[in-house]
């Protein structure tokens, strides 16, 4: 068969074509096209990595994908009492968590966990609801704070609980829970405000904010935890981990890790034994107690009642529990010892007495007390409606005669009283490294005019004499005042932190300016009378001490007075401050007894004291909020006596305190 010539027209229009030749040519062309495509792809691929900069860029991108820097929060510094007892530490919290992505049947596996932990179906339902909102790839806690037994019970059943993880994390723990809720406070997750504040700082603000957003990070939110945050927190470390696209950790580059620097430990001045005793002595009453070493200012007790468990705050307190605490009229969240401001009542007579002495009042200056003091057209009443008769300063202190002090105040004048009060530490916020330290208020005519826009009147001076009016003091200030009276006029400053980085040992306190020792001596004698002489307003409390000093100086319990031993005595001053105004009409019809009043209108009971009388070392101030002297066991004076008695027997000032370096060594070895 003869094929026609290619291109020769057959018929009218169509050229005859050699399909085989065309195929061969075009197949070659197509193959070359394929080779070109392969070449282009190969070239592009080589280009992606051969060009140095491009390749580095992609390698860096791959590393960025692959590596993630995980923050390792540092162990927080341990807080010790003065003898090395651990009051706040970082401990392990055992948790059971679920990785949702690994779970086959959520309801089933959670109900099995519930059965192991002894929870009901309702718990399982609530937990599932909560967990479903969380991460699907990272462990979401089902329950935190497991006991060791519960943790083990979960652990042994793990093989049959697919998707369940039993893990432990570092958590701040307060082993004596309620005892140190106020002075030590608590840590919490950083709030949005903390993060905003960090962001506002141009230097490292962003990285600080990133750090604060880490779910494991806790910062101090109250008490010393807040004010010593820079000391306690330490420096964060990090780990360079290999993560997959979902952020789940697959491995770690250990060469790139940095160990966190633990926070520094802190030794407090508090004596745990005494603090616990003091906290227990309040029962369900509201109040505060402060015990202080009168020579170096060490605060041995800082109690505020009622209290709460700071451990509940560490992992986020529930709204319901917080509302109960926050709404309680006894204000458990509030550190009454330093932040509570009260009218000092008759405890202020110590100050008025000194001012009167400075104004020339001597022991011969007698005042007649008929039970009231008519002045400026009205009667100022004495607490003792029948009156005390003739009283001088000593007796007036002992029996707390109001009429004497009305007139003593008039004689001293408000400026002098205010000056003395300020000298003894009222009206200033003592620096004891705590947040929210209240400065109180010591009024004088200038203050009155500036703030009340009217002239000071003599009537105000009269009231000033018994510590009423706008005068406000804190339990800490009361204790400091008692200490300065007891140490014969040394300007001792209270302190709560014995040893911590940046805290320096205070030098010997200077003498208080313009305070004559003989004036103080007279006041101390009066305070001795309060607790030890017939007619003294705190005789019963004075009798509760029941201790003697042995010839070798050691104080021991004894009800009588064994031969060679001297009884240990205290000196003090009672006080009652009204939380309400008693109208003339009420007074006429008989003053209502506190028991008839609602709690928040009852009187506050106060007692400032020091001892032992023969060689003073400790000062104490107790405020019973609205205690109203209703329960003789729970009045301010007997509680003070109980606390002081324990203090004398323990005599913490004479025991060697713990040293931070040694404690940190021990803690480091244990870790």
């Amino acid at each position: 068969m003869k094929f026609p010539q290619r291109g020769k027209k057959i018929g009218p229009t169509l050229p005859k074509r050699d399909v085989n030749l065309i195929f061969t040519r075009r197949a070659t062309l197509l193959s070359l096209g394929g080779l070109g495509a392969a070449g282009a792809i190969g070239f592009r691929m080589a280009q992606l990595q051969a060009t140095d900069a491009v390749s580095r860029e992609y390698t860096r991108a791959a590393d960025e994908n692959r590596f993630d820097t995980r923050i390792v929060p540092p162990p927080r510094g341990i807080i010790y009492d003065r003898f090395g007892i651990v009051l706040a530490q970082t401990s392990k919290d055992y948790q059971v968590s679920v990785v949702q992505n690994d779970v086959d049947d959520m309801e089933e596996v959670v109900s099995r966990v519930a059965a192991i932990l002894g929870h009901d179906a309702d718990w399982a339902r609530r937990v599932i609801l909560r967990v479903r909102g969380g991460s699907h790839y990272e462990p979401e806690p089902l329950q935190v704070g497991l006991t060791w037994e519960e943790f083990n019970a979960i652990n042994v059943r793990l093989p049959e609980l697919r998707g369940i993880v039993a893990n432990s994390t570092d958590v701040r723990a307060y082993p004596f829970d309620v005892v140190y809720a106020h002075p030590i406070g608590y840590v919490q997750k950083p709030s949005q405000r903390d993060i905003d504040r960090a962001l506002a700082n141009p230097e490292q603000g962003a990285s600080r904010a990133t750090y604060l957003r880490n779910p494991q990070v806790r910062v101090g939110k109250a008490g010393l935890e807040a004010s010593l945050e820079p000391v306690l927190h330490g420096d964060a470390g990090w780990r360079k981990v290999i993560v997959n696209a979902r952020g789940v950790e697959m491995g770690e580059d250990e060469d790139e890790a940095r160990q966190p620097v633990p926070g520094s430990g802190v030794v407090l001045t508090i004596d745990h034994e005494l603090q616990r005793t003091a906290m227990q002595s309040f029962g369900d009453q509201a109040g505060a107690a402060v015990v202080m070493d009168i020579y170096n200012g060490d605060i041995l007790v800082m109690a505020s009642a009622p209290t709460f468990d700071p451990n509940h705050f560490v992992n986020g307190i529930g709204q319901a529990e917080f509302d109960v605490l926050n709404g309680d009229e006894k204000k458990p969240l509030f550190n009454k010892a330093v932040s509570g401001a009260y009218p000092p009542g008759s405890t202020f007579k110590t100050m008025v007495g000194i001012a009167a002495k400075q104004a020339g009042v001597d022991d011969d200056w007698h005042v007649n007390c008929p039970g009231y003091f008519p002045f400026g057209g009205r009667n100022f009443h004495c607490w003792k409606s029948g009156g005390h008769g003739q009283v001088n300063l000593h007796r007036a202190m002992r029996e707390s005669c109001d009429v004497f002090f009305y007139q003593a105040a008039l004689r001293a004048g408000p400026e002098r009283i205010a000056a003395v009060a300020r000298t003894f530490g009222f009206g200033v916020a003592h620096d004891i490294t705590l947040p929210n330290v209240e400065d109180g208020l010591v009024p004088d005519p200038d203050w009155w005019f500036a703030n009340r826009h009217e002239r000071w009147t003599a009537g105000l001076t009269v009231n000033y004499g018994i510590g009423q009016g706008s005068l406000l003091v804190t339990p800490l200030q009361l204790c400091c005042m008692a200490a300065r009276v007891a140490n014969n006029g040394k300007a001792v400053k209270p302190r709560l932190v014995r040893e911590a980085p940046g805290v320096v040992e205070p030098g010997a306190p200077r003498d208080l300016e313009g305070i004559a020792p003989e004036h103080l001596s007279a006041i101390r004698q009066g305070m001795f009378g309060v607790a030890n002489e017939p007619g003294g307003t705190a005789m019963r409390a004075g009798n509760m001490i029941q201790c003697v000093r042995r010839p070798d100086g050691v104080i021991v319990e004894a009800s009588g007075a064994p031969p060679g031993c001297t009884p240990v005595q205290i000196a003090g001053k009672t006080g009652t401050s009204q939380a309400r105004v008693i109208s003339a009409a009420e007074r006429a019809s008989g003053v209502r007894h506190d028991s008839q009043l609602p709690w928040h209108l009852r009187d506050n009971a106060l007692f400032v004291s020091f001892g032992p009388w023969d060689d003073p070392r400790y000062a104490c101030a107790v405020v019973m909020e609205h205690g109203g002297h209703l329960n003789p066991q729970l009045d301010a004076a007997p509680i003070s006596a109980m606390i002081l008695r324990q203090t004398f027997l323990r005599d913490p000032a004479r025991r060697p305190p713990a040293r931070l370096a040694a404690l940190e060594n021990r803690a480091g070895r244990q870790a």
Binding site: R17, D18, V19, A61
Partner: protein, 380 residues
């Protein structure tokens, strides 16, 4: 010599020996690399994935070889039109009673069997057009009138598949069809006009036919949009993996992008990325070389076949393979938009493997029976 004598292909042993073992070796090599990579996808564990891949290939290879040995060119010629018609009817059926999975209506469920008619069409279009040009009077190949049926044969399934929507498969059908037309002798004049129409059609399609996600991908590809976490994420992660691989890669089971799941779809569309990440430029070139060799062998089969049908069918399969390989690899290195086309013999999944192994059954069969011819020197 009678036709019958000429078509007798000897004993079974002879047939086995006459098989194109080069092609078979390349297929096995690629499938083996596939098993290797799926083992790595499973983070170095014998999970179902590498085993399934290997088993599936083994079964399909046996069927392919049996088909190549026992079905000759006449069979393929005979089924070309019925297969095409059937595939087109099934595509129409998909339109009506198709099953929608993940936003696309591609599947047809007949009892327990679930199939994608668009896959059958990939092979059917090659056979049907090969037969069309085989039987067309060579003088008429240049005529516009006789080009139209071929265009319609391609256009109808492409339109139906685009509507599913399945851009990748539509492109493969289109490329395979156009390749057969080109090899069949389409006039360059018509090609030039067609290209002009195609470009304007592409612009029109971009504006009116394509779905939002398809447009997004093309925009990202063309650099008109930047979307590292959306449409551009796949390609970005893929480019990071390839760009950071180096000459010999990070090592088997060591690719950080793929092992740590940054690379999406690593067991299917992006398996080439994983190969390059773990075996480097070297591994990427090796695999690419295997494909080029496979295409070359298929082309060789086409060139030495005696009938135009055989030639066009084998070359069409080669073109289909090339379309798969080049679209996929161009896609993972960011040279083509992401269209969801797997890498033959390597990507996990049965559909593409069945399609391509059917294609190679034709190629092997055509090669084995290349001496078989009819009275006209071609076929009957």
């Amino acid at each position: 010599m009678t036709i019958a004598a000429a078509s007798t292909q000897g004993t079974l042993i002879e047939r086995v020996l006459k098989l194109n073992w080069g092609i078979i070796t390349l297929l096995v090599a690629l499938a083996f690399i596939g098993v290797l990579m799926h083992f790595s996808v499973s983070s170095g564990a014998w999970t179902d994935m590498p085993l399934t891949h290997g088993m599936r290939f083994a079964v399909l290879l046996v069927i392919t070889l049996l088909a190549a040995m026992f079905l000759d060119t006449r069979f393929w010629l005979a089924i070309a039109y019925p297969l095409y018609a059937g595939a087109l009817l099934l595509l129409l059926a998909v339109e009506v009673i198709g099953e929608t999975r993940m936003g696309a209506t591609r599947w047809l469920s007949i009892g327990p069997i679930s199939l994608q008619p668009s896959e059958i069409m990939k092979i059917a279009i090659v056979l049907a057009l090969a037969r069309y040009y085989h039987q067309l009077d060579p003088r008429r190949t240049g005529s516009v009138l006789w080009v139209l049926p071929a265009f319609i044969m391609i256009g109808a399934p492409v339109a139906l598949v685009m509507h599913q929507p399945d851009l990748g498969t539509a492109m493969l059908i289109l490329f395979a069809g156009l390749a057969v037309m080109f090899l069949g002798g389409l006039l360059w004049r018509i090609i030039a006009v067609g290209a002009g129409v195609a470009i304007s059609g592409a612009v029109f399609a971009y504006n009116n036919v394509l779905h939002g996600y398809q447009r997004d991908r093309i925009n990202v590809f063309l650099g008109l949009a930047d979307d590292p976490l959306g449409a551009g994420y796949h390609v970005l992660q893929s480019k990071i993996a390839i760009g950071s691989a180096g000459l010999f890669g990070r090592g088997y089971l060591q690719g950080s992008q793929s092992q740590l799941d940054f690379l999406p779809e690593k067991h299917t569309d992006f398996i080439y990325t994983m190969i390059v990440e773990e075996f480097g430029l070297f591994g990427g070139f090796l695999v690419l070389g295997l494909y080029v060799a496979l295409m070359g062998l298929a082309m060789q089969v086409a060139l030495r076949a005696r009938s135009l049908f055989s030639r066009l069918a084998a070359a069409g399969v080669a073109a289909t393979l090339a379309s798969y390989v080049f679209i996929n690899t161009a896609m993972v290195i960011g040279l083509a938009p992401v269209v969801g086309i797997p890498l033959p013999m390597l990507s996990f999944g049965g559909t593409a493997m069945v399609t391509l192994m059917s294609g190679f059954a034709i190629v092997l069969s055509v090669d084995l029976h290349r001496d078989q011819h009819g009275a006209r020197g071609l076929l009957w």
